[in-house]
Symmetry: C2
Subunit: 116 residues, 2 copies
Amino acid sequence: MNLKNMSMGTRKTAVFSETENELADLAKALGHPARVAILKELANRNVCVCGEIVDTLPLAQSTVSQHLKELKAAGLISGTVEGVKSCYCINWATLERLKNLLEDCFKPCSDQGCAC
Amino acid sequence: MNLKNMSMGTRKTAVFSETENELADLAKALGHPARVAILKELANRNVCVCGEIVDTLPLAQSTVSQHLKELKAAGLISGTVEGVKSCYCINWATLERLKNLLEDCFKPCSDQGCAC
DNA sequence: TTTTTTTATCGTAATTTTACGATAAATTTT
DNA sequence: AAAATTTATCGTAAAATTACGATAAAAAAA
């Protein structure tokens, strides 16, 4: 990764720590109300939901699909194909990870034993 | 707010709930490693830090200033002017609010008593 | 088999984000 | 008073995000 080759509107990811990037990526995935709504919906159904998510949102199907893709890329949900339908469910572990990062990163640490 | 007037790349904020937007906005503010790093730095200094933040980051001063502005807009930090310097400190209450939203929103709720 | 349903992906348009240098404004310092 | 320091803001460029319609591919239904 050549830092000199970084062009204008690009995030300088390589310059930050693993943890900083991990937290930022998870937060970014949650940084859109549609994705919050999707995750909320999935949290309320223990059975994995398919494209009913689209019906609950006032957005185009392709837009919702895009948001699902992002949530999946961040590890916040996982999807399985069930015939022609595709079912998604929430990844509680990742959500827990986010909460832990939030808890650990912003804690006045005494040098050693610092989580972040 | 006219939904018909919504143009292409614009977030459809008006279509989502207050809470969904609040959580999304806070998450979005944390959705960049530089802002995570800044918040981390502020968490470690009980005394409010000024532009030393710039020295800890491999980013231009103007870029850091922009990130500080965003964190401030989200309510995650607050700043006071001390002569020519400007001191920032973390807003623990907002961070707590974020944690609470995260805790409450994605909790299988039994219809009534649902936080989100 | 043909039609319908379901969903991911492509193409496109507009906006927003990220980053930097330059500059301005307001202190301090000399 | 002049020079230096500090920081917010402006202007700009490039990339990423958001949104939608159209389409493709695969399975289910007719």
